[in-house]
Structures are given as C-alpha cells and as structure tokens.
Subunit: 480 residues, 2 copies
Amino acid sequence: MSGEDAPAQQQNAEEQKQQQQQETKTPAESPKTESKPDPPPTSASTEAAAAAADTPAPAAEKAPEEDTFSYRALVLTGYGGYDKVKLQVKKGKPALKSGEVMVRVKMCGLNFADLMARQGLYDRLPSPPVTPGMECSGIIEAVGEDVTDRKVGDKVLVLNRSGLWQEVVVVATTHTFLMPEGMSFEEAAALPVNYITAYMMLFDFGHLRPNQSVLVHMAAGGVGIAATQLCKTVNDVTVFGTASASKHEVISQGGVTHPIDYRTRDYVEEIRKISPKGLDIVLDPLGGSDTHKGYNLLKPMGKLISYGAANMLAGQKKNLFAVAKTWYQQFSVHTLSLIQGNRSVCGFHLGYLDSESELIAQAMAVIMDLYKQGKIKPRIDSTYHLEQVGDAMRRMQERHNIGKIILTTEPMKEEEKKEEAKKDEEKKKDDKKKDDKKKDDKKKDEAKKEEKKEEKKKEETKKDDKKAEEKKEEVKKEEN
Amino acid sequence: MSGEDAPAQQQNAEEQKQQQQQETKTPAESPKTESKPDPPPTSASTEAAAAAADTPAPAAEKAPEEDTFSYRALVLTGYGGYDKVKLQVKKGKPALKSGEVMVRVKMCGLNFADLMARQGLYDRLPSPPVTPGMECSGIIEAVGEDVTDRKVGDKVLVLNRSGLWQEVVVVATTHTFLMPEGMSFEEAAALPVNYITAYMMLFDFGHLRPNQSVLVHMAAGGVGIAATQLCKTVNDVTVFGTASASKHEVISQGGVTHPIDYRTRDYVEEIRKISPKGLDIVLDPLGGSDTHKGYNLLKPMGKLISYGAANMLAGQKKNLFAVAKTWYQQFSVHTLSLIQGNRSVCGFHLGYLDSESELIAQAMAVIMDLYKQGKIKPRIDSTYHLEQVGDAMRRMQERHNIGKIILTTEPMKEEEKKEEAKKDEEKKKDDKKKDDKKKDDKKKDEAKKEEKKEEKKKEETKKDDKKAEEKKEEVKKEEN
C-alpha cells in the first residue's frame, strides 16, 4: 500500500486549520510537529505506559520524544473508492489537555457510516484529509491533568465522532469505557457503535417488551446481530431477520426466529403470513422504499426506527442514481397519519449523538452488565491489518460478513505483504473483469429491451389487425 | 330542551340500517322495538339487577317489558352547534348477545373528540343520528351468555368507541372494568379516556424516565391533569404546563413545575429560558403550527407525541378557516431529519385503538393500581345533567374547565328545569350579542385596515414625491 511516507507534516497543518471549524474535537487534530518550548505534561507517564502496555514502544529510545514519536494512521484522502483510504505515518507526539487520555490502539471497528463517509455521504466526518473511525480498543498510555478515573495501563474501549483508525489516539476520558474482565480487544472494538445503536433503538425509542415482534434488516450485520442478541434478553420476542440464505443458519443460532432471504422472497409477504397483524418494531437501516414497507407493517402502537440509508450504497464509488432514488423515495409522514394509525416514526444515528455523553454512558453501563452476564457477545466476522482496509471495506459493502469486521493495528508481516500485493493485482484484474461484465450485461440488457419492444410492437400490430378483421366481420354481419 | 318526545321508533330503524355498515358494534344499535316472539334471554336477571342496582327501575311493573322499557339518550342529530345534541327517549329493551353486558349508566365523561364529532371532524363516530360518548360508569344490570367475569350489581367503568351518553348501554364485557373500592361514579367516568391516553403516550411512546422534562399543553384539561399526575409518579420529572393564568394555582398544586400563560407569553421562549437544551417529551393536542414548535423543542432522543388537532376547533360550528389553516400547517417529517436530530414523532388517538383490547386492559390495570395507591385521582371540574349537554360542551370548548366535565343521568328537578330555560334565553341573547359584537369588531377591523392602507398609500406618495424632488435636485446639481 502506498502512502506510508506521505507528507504527514502538511497533513497536520491542514488538520489544525480544520480545528477551528469543527464543533467536536477529534483526536486527529492533536498531533503537533512544530518545535515547542514546553515539554508535554505527560511525557514521563507516557514512557512508563508504553513500557507497561507491552506494545512496540516508539518512545523507548533516549532521543527527544517529540521528534521521534511517530505512528501509523489511516487517512481518507478524498471521496471515492476503497483506495481513497491510505495508510500514512504521522509524526510528533499528540499533546494532552486536561480531561484527556492517550490510548495505544489495538483494534478498530468498521461501520456502515465509514463506507458512507468514504463516498462523501456522511456529514459527521470532517472533510478529507482526515482519519476516520468511530470505535476502537486499546491501552491507556498517558492521562492528562485532572483525570482521576483512568490510569496508565487501563484497557479501554473508545467511542468518538471520528479519528480512531490509527495507532495512537487522544480523546476525552468520557469517551473511554473500561473493558470488563475477559473481554478481548476484538470484542471491545466491535461493541460500542453496534450495541449502543441497537440498545437505544430497541429500548428507548422502541420500548421493547415481552411477546413483541421485531424486524431486523441485515440481520447478519453488526447492528443486526447486536439487535438480535438484545431482543433475546426480553422474554418471548419474535425476531424476523433478513439476510441472504447462506447466512440463515448462523443468524438462526444467534436468535433470529424467522430468517428471510430478501433476495428471493418478498419479506413483507413472508412476515404477513406469519404475523398477519404486523409488527411492534421495525429497525430500518435501508431507507428509500423499504421505509414505506416497514411503516405499513406496523401494528397499532408500533414503532418504525430509521437509522440509515444503506440503499444509497451501490458499488464502490458514489452512485448518483442510487443516491437520488433513495432520496426521492425517502419516507415522509404526516402527523394525522400517525394519529390514525397510532404509530411512531423515529430516527437514530449515534454519530449525531456525540454530545450526549450521559445518555451514552447510561446505555454503555447496561450493555457492559449484559456482557458480564453472558447475555450478549459481539460476533467477529474477520480481522484485517490496517494495510488491508480496502479489503475490509469491500467485504462489508458487498455484504459478505456475518458479524463485525475488525482492523488490527498489528503490523503485517513481510511475507503477508508480498502475498497481499499479488492478491491486489488479481483483485484489480477481477474488478476490471467485473466492470467489463457489467458493461456487457448492460449492453445485453439493452439489446433484450429493444427486442422486447420490437416484439410488443409486433403484437400490437397483430392485435390491431385482429380488431380490424373483427370489425370487418361485424360490418359483414350487419350487412347480412 | 326539546327532543324528549322525538320519534325514537324511527331513530331505531335508522340505527339498525347502520348496523351493517359499522365495523364496531355500538350500544345504540341494539334496542329493538318490533314485536318479537322470544323473550330476551336475560330479562329475568335484568329485573333483579334493576332492583339490586337501586335505580329508578323502568322494568318494575308487570307489563311486558319489551314494550315498556324505555330510557333517555343523547343523540347527535346532525353536525353543527351545541343544539345538535338532543335528549331523546329510546324504547325497547336492548338484546344481549353472548359476551355482552347491559349497564345502567350513572355518569358519562366528555371528551375533545365529542366536540370534534359534533362538528363532523371525527371519523370514528358513525354518521348522525347517533349517540356519542366514549366513556361512562354505572352498574351491571344484566349479563349475556358466557359472561363469567362480571355479575349483576358490579360497579363498572366502560370504554367504547361511541354510544355511551345514555341511561342504558350494552357493551362487550371486555370494554368494562371493575371500579375499585372507594372510587366515585364521577371519578370512574372521568378516568378511562384521559388516563389511558396519557399513560400510553408517556410510558409506551414516550418511555418517560427520572430527571426528564415534559411539555403538557392544556394542562388544566382532562388529559393535561392526567398526564401531570402520571409524570409525578416518576422521580424528578419537570412538567411545563400551558394554561391561562387563572388556572396556574390549581395546576401548580397538581404537579406542574412551570405553568406558562400561553395567552400572554411565547411558550417556546419561556421553556428555552428554563431548559435551554429543550425537552424530552412534548405532548401535542393542538396540531398545526404548535406541532412544529414542539418538534423544534426536542432534545436528542426526544419524542413528540401528537394526539389531536384542537386548533381546528374555533367557535361552536365548524370553522372552515381554522380547519384549513390547521390542516395546511400540519406537521410532516422526513426520516432523514429524524435521523440527524435523533428524534421521534408519534401519533396517538384512543379512538383508533378500539380493537386493541389487550393493550388497553394492560394500561388500565396499571392505572387502577396507581389509583388504589393514591398516586392518581381524576379531578372533576363540574357535573351537568344530560339536559345540559350543550352547556357542558360550551364550557369545554371555551376552555373554562379545570379537570373533567361530567354528565349525570340523574334527571333534572322541575325547578331546575325552569331556571335552565331562563338561563337558556339569556344565553341565546348573549350569543346574539357576542355574534353582533364579532361582526361589529370585524367591521371596525376592516375599517382600521382600510385606514392603514390609506395612510400607507399617502406615505408612499409622500416618499415618491420626496424621491422625485431628490432626483430633481440631483439633476439640478449635475446641470450645474
């Protein structure tokens, strides 16, 4: 992967410019490379942390830390395809303010919002160049002034608006949560976004209770699996889950009562067959026409909770047609219709909730408890190196995953890199083939359409002829 | 009041015709006056009940009951003003089907939907002539076959789609609820609609929790008082309540933390002063522009619950302007706006929930418990005789009430009737005066507007003159 030796210096300057425009502080803003007279207040504890944390510590040498401190970071360099996210090296030790902690990152979570962001469809990510990433896990390496609830060496999971796909992050301590005993770093990175999203939707907006029924779209995705597990913490909840047939066995084991293959079946019909009165809760990450379907599936007192517009994502790059179609079909509702149906329509996105640390902390406390009780457990689909972020994103976007996709900060071995390079070549060829096939298919489709049109015309002409003949017959009869 | 000797016979025939058109059975459909060979299966128990119930029993004589059984009923004879609801006498004993009970009604509750219905603005009431009324209390006088959970003499409160404003009603047993010890008939008639509405809005859609804030419009109305009391069953809930200043003392005592006089203050400003971040729950019975205001007052994870369009009610008869304005301004929301705000918009109306007996029974069970614990208690504003239903409706529509307005089936005494007649005359005069004043005011307003227009014209002419002069000056200057 290119970009490791990209001008990190210049990038930091860009980021500092952005600092004033941004409402919420992202860790990517912190690194400073200018020569500064005062040493960072936490440099001593940082060294200790680096040693304690048992990670490859870049600050172990005796040289002035500010000059030698460097770390790898994923950077979205512009909107577009998978190759727009590049691995770069940032230099200079990030400064710590009061109430902040520095975390040596182990694992990062991949989310749908990251895919949207790469295509320029997610307005909560600052403009490129910027480090994406809303969740990670790691070890506290340094604490700022006034931080009393975290100490160097604490294992934490982190939730932030962006900026977490790098080896070192600086965040407010309120954005970190202590990992419970026995939780792996993979699990910790897989937990915050999916489980808080599913929890707040089901229990705050949804007010889920025993004997109710829930529709979970993309039931094999991160939120889908979290939602299914959380549904199962309530007695006798029926879960309808859409996923392609190959994933049904796994999601059934995970708690989905009725898996539905949305590719071969009309899910509305399938649900009506089993639950003619409809559903209590519909979780809708798709948007567009699926929101309408979900709304019409609601029982009285039912809740539709919209939390995304995945239908906008079609292909690697922004697909203007898909965006326009989803936007055009996007659901809009009048209160009088809600009143007559006794219905509720809610919108949720964790990315727009980042200032509500109290609400998030409350949800997280319950989620951690459920984890400790063994009632929930993130399912990891696969783990990729930072270098492989493109493959990771592709896997998610093409919906091959069952569970969470994780990025690890552990560097790739040399042999692996060589293999990757080969694979990359093959993939590029494959992509080209796919593109060519698409073009071919399109041409074929068009040819078929033309044929059909011709046939229709012929048929119509035949019909007209027939009618003309019939008329003639009638005229004849009348004449007789 | 006229109408006591109206042709009840004819009316029954009309109602039977409607029977086939109506989805839900209303008690008004049952009375039958045709001579029928089989005696109703429950006539014996009915007599016993009438005696046991200690009410003026029309069936006490020995004459064939079917012919002599009669009872007074309020009937909406057409859409329009207060005088469209007339007191009539229905003849013939209603037949009881399996699973039904006959109730000798004591008290009836008055609701906003009844006012809307009189103006033809509520589609859940069958077309006139029809008996309105969604709630009442009384004593069971007869039970149909297969009824095991109710017996003659039970004191019950009744909730039904319509048809309860009469002395005798026949309803499904699932629509009746046993009155707890110590509850008065007034309280029982005041409870179902307002408390179930407030309960389901606050706790199902709203998911009200400690430390949250709620806006209650019309806080001195039936739902307003119920909602305030229910808010107070949760710790540290802040209630903002709108009402005219004269009602503030009472609603404060009832639990409203911040009473706001919506007539002299901008309630949005007042709320923002106290709670700059906004509110967790807005209960909106008004519709139109107030729904927009409520939506904009929501915090993240906030819920707007729309449950009426009281803004449509302006004056005694349907005001097309108010209806059109409310309709035109009615709120419509896009899911993307909900997602970005993390908000929920819900619609509630008990009238559209009548097939959900299980949900209603669950809510009622909790409400009865809270009543027994002394945590809620309906506040009765005033009690009117059936003959005075026009006055009762006027009091509600002009928003003079604090709490529930009740209709009693107890007949009016002769002296009272005479006094009423006098009052009626005065009221009619008063109405005429008001109408005349309105017309006068309108004329004056128009005259003023004309004056203003004239003044504006004059000013504009002056300005034009000035400009012309200025131009002349400029031209002169240039010429010089």
